[in-house]
């Protein structure tokens, strides 16, 4: 029988970082590796061995796994001693008569164990195999968030499309796609308007009760509390961006510094970004080493000032909404939603907000955008009476151009436009919006005789399409032409080609 031997220095005390499913879904850092394992004595009478070790970081408890010495090479574990404490000492280890190898493993006290340490296995330094049989106490190993391992947080920043509903119907809150974060980036309104009507431009106000020009950003980190030696940092490329903790401003996160260490009490945190003057700039969220300053993870978003405003007008009795009140109808609002999600500052209205004089909420929104938000490009499109209102709005804008300020009407579009001198006007809108850079006109015209409602060609338009004469539009009527995919795609393509964000 081979002599009973103890393995005096093969106590690999290992730690791990685990992905614990916390209540909010975040992963917590998990115990690190216990070190300095020493056998301090052995009671010859009882055979019990006393051990000490330096506890693993963040360990709530430790346990021992062991096996016969001759199986050490294959990590043939045969037993466990559970709950040996977090103090770094244990006086009652007695695997029985034979020679054994053993390891001390950090655990969280509730079923997750950490690393078994590394060894040269097959010539490579790699993690020792874990005990999977767990004959005494069950643990699941998780090494993804070990507190002493390489810090590899999950980290991300999401920008949302501009707040809507201040003028025009609100759009659903919509995130900027990850692929668009750097190019073209998140559009942000220049905050020179006066949402609280206090006579002071909002960028100069410390607090704005009804502020709607700040961009919401969601910061997500996992784990919320970085391990010792690391921190989360929010930084900006220039003071062109101001960061606030609330949509109404009130509490600014960055003062004169362009970076701030952030703390998280939950896996996500919401902040608001302001563009006071309209310069482009970047915002970056990173996790970095406190000592060296090097980032171990980061996410960046480019913010670009919004240069245009887009007005979408529906037909008579079409109520703008997102989602559309009629999913297969209300094509102008379907298109408005698509453009908004793409990054345009879109405002969709019932066409009745534009009277024959062109005045009203839509006009005011455009004027405010030009005068106070540094917007210089305008697009307007509409269906039926909304086409007529498109012309009414364009006429007023053009007539007041000298007072309003510098802008270009880059794109206008009619879809079976009907003049809108009243709700009962049924004449085709045949007038080209003055000063339009590009006018596209789709209309249906199946003869248009007695009791028929039709749009018509617009002299001077860059594009006139009689859909009735197309292979795809012969069956369209005044009530379906605004929902035709070919028409909606046509407006979309031309608007995107002629109007910058």
């Amino acid at each position: 029988m081979p002599p009973r031997r103890l393995l005096p220095s093969i106590g690999w005390c290992l730690a791990l970082t685990l992905l614990a499913a916390q209540s909010a879904g975040a992963r917590a850092a998990t115990p690190g590796e216990a070190t300095d394992l020493t056998i301090t004595s052995r009671d010859e009478a009882t055979g019990e061995i006393s051990l000490t070790w330096t506890p693993a970081c963040a360990a709530a408890d430790h346990h021992i796994v062991f096996g016969l010495l001759e199986d050490a090479g294959a990590y043939g574990y045969t037993g466990q001693v559970c709950g040996i404490g977090a103090t770094g000492s244990y006086d009652a280890f007695n695997p029985g008569p034979d020679s054994y190898f053993f390891l001390v493993i950090g655990d969280d006290g509730s079923g997750t164990e950490g690393s078994y340490g590394t060894s040269f296995i097959g010539g490579l330094a790699q993690e020792r195999p874990e005990e999977t049989a767990d004959p005494v106490c069950a643990f699941t190993q998780d090494l993804s968030q070990r507190c002493d391992g390489p810090f590899n947080p999950s980290l991300g920043m999401t920008a949302w499309r501009p707040v809507t509903g201040g003028s025009g119907a609100p759009f659903q809150r919509w995130p900027l796609a990850e692929a668009d974060e750097l190019l073209p980036g998140a559009g942000i309104r220049v905050n020179g308007d006066d949402d609280d009507n206090d006579g002071t431009a909002d960028r100069d106000d410390a607090s704005v009760a009804s502020e709607n020009d700040l961009i919401e950003i969601t910061l997500a980190v996992d784990p919320p509390a970085p391990p010792a030696g690391y921190e989360y940092l929010l930084s900006r490329s220039s003071p062109a961006l101001r960061i606030w903790t609330a949509q109404t401003k009130a509490s600014e996160l960055m003062g004169s510094s362009d970076e701030i260490v952030l703390s998280f009490t939950a896996p996500t945190r919401t902040l608001w970004v302001e563009s006071p003057a309209g310069s482009a700039a970047d915002l970056e969220l990173s996790a970095r080493s406190v000592a060296g300053g090097s980032a171990v993870a980061s996410d960046q978003i480019h913010f670009r000032p919004i240069e245009s405003v887009v007005i979408a007008l529906g037909g008579e009795n079409q109520v703008p909404a997102d989602p559309p009140l009629e999913p297969t109808n209300h094509g102008m609002f379907q298109l408005a939603i698509t453009l908004y999600r793409l990054g345009y500052d879109v405002h969709m209205y019932d066409e009745d907000v534009v009277p024959a004089s062109g005045a009203g909420a839509a006009y005011n929104e455009v004027v405010s955008a030009i005068q106070r938000r540094a917007v210089s490009h305008v697009a307007i499109f509409g269906y039926s009476h909304g086409g007529g209102s498109t012309n009414d709005l364009a006429r007023r804008l053009d007539a007041n151009r000298a007072t309003i300020g510098s802008f270009s009407l880059d794109f206008t579009g009619y879809v079976d436009g009907i003049d809108n001198d009243s709700d009962f006007d049924i004449d085709p809108e045949a007038v080209l919006p003055p000063s339009t850079g590009y006018h596209a006109n789709w209309y249906q015209h199946p003869g248009c005789g007695f009791l028929q409602l039709c749009g018509g060609p617009v002299a001077g338009a860059d594009l006139n399409v009689n859909v009735t004469a197309t292979p795809w539009g012969g069956g369209l009527t005044h009530f379906t032409v605004d929902d035709a995919p070919q028409v909606l795609q046509g407006i979309f393509d031309l608007l995107v080609a002629h109007v910058p964000f």
Partner: protein, 276 residues
């Protein structure tokens, strides 16, 4: 809806306390619905549907118009409202028929029906050149000649006069001056105040902001106008402060509220055209 329009509707609501909503006639409503659907679907029997509707109404074209207005006020989509407009167009109501049908019910109408009535009146007052006259100070430049003719033939109609001031205070004032001014020119002080005020409001409407010292000057001018001997000039002041509440001092507000003429006070009872 613009704040100014909301304010006017609020004013109209005060006037409407004693009036009631005209009831829908189920038979006519059904025939109107059939005709509108036939037009929307381009059904071959659409002309017959229209003929049936006209026959059912008999000679009561004003009642038919009110019923169409009720139908349109309940429309929930372009598929009803635009063919409804085609039906309306086909029936070729005269201006007098429209005024005779609409005015008695304006004050009692709910907001949706009142809007339809306003739009029906719009077919009488809005120009047919496809757009507004931007040389006009208030940019609407309606044609009130049909209302002038009506008011010459009828007793003073508070509902119509309020409507005119709602649509265009400037055009309404010009009409009232023609109708009730007996050819007397406006005094120099109120005329100067009026011209300054129009200029300031024109800038305000175009730029969505007041010019420098514009509010103070406009308020001073309204103060002058609101004390004018002619009720239709004072009603102009009332219209402007209704559209622009930020121009109204408490003194002006009190003066207009206590005005000797019921139209300026906003009461539905009639004053005589010549009363001040």
């Amino acid at each position: 809806m613009s704040p100014s329009r909301t304010a006017w509707i609020a004013l109209a609501s005060l006037l409407a306390l004693a009036a009631t909503q005209p009831p829908g006639n189920p038979d006519l409503q059904g025939l109107i619905r059939d005709a509108v659907q036939a037009v929307a679907r381009q059904e071959p029997d659409a002309p017959q549907r229209l003929a049936a509707l006209q026959k059912a109404a008999g000679g009561h074209r004003e009642e038919l118009l009110v019923q169409i207005a009720i139908y349109l006020s309940r429309a929930t989509g372009t598929e009803q409202s635009m063919p409804g407009a085609v039906v309306l167009h086909h029936l070729e109501f005269t201006p007098d028929e429209i005024l005779a049908a609409v005015l008695p019910h304006m004050d009692g109408a709910d907001p949706k029906l009142r809007r339809v009535f306003n739009e029906l009146l719009g077919t009488l007052e809005r120009r047919e050149d496809g757009g507004p006259d931007f040389s006009s100070p208030d940019f609407s430049s309606p044609d009130f000649s049909r209302y002038d003719a009506w008011l010459r033939r009828k007793p003073m109609e508070p509902v119509l006069i309020h409507h005119m001031y709602e649509v265009s205070p400037d055009a309404a004032l010009a009409s009232m001056q023609r109708l009730y001014g007996d050819g007397r020119p406006m005094g120099a002080a109120p005329k100067g105040a009026l011209e300054r005020l129009r200029s300031i409001l024109g800038h305000r409407d175009a730029a969505e902001s007041w010019p420098a010292r514009g509010q103070e000057q406009a308020c001073a001018d309204i103060d002058v106008i609101s004390a004018d001997p002619a009720w239709w000039v004072r009603l102009y002041a009332k219209a402007i402060v209704t559209l622009h509440p930020d121009l109204c001092t408490e003194q002006i507000r009190r003066r207009l509220r206590d005005d000797p003429h019921p139209l300026v006070r906003g009461e539905p009872s009639l004053g005589s055209p010549g009363s001040k």
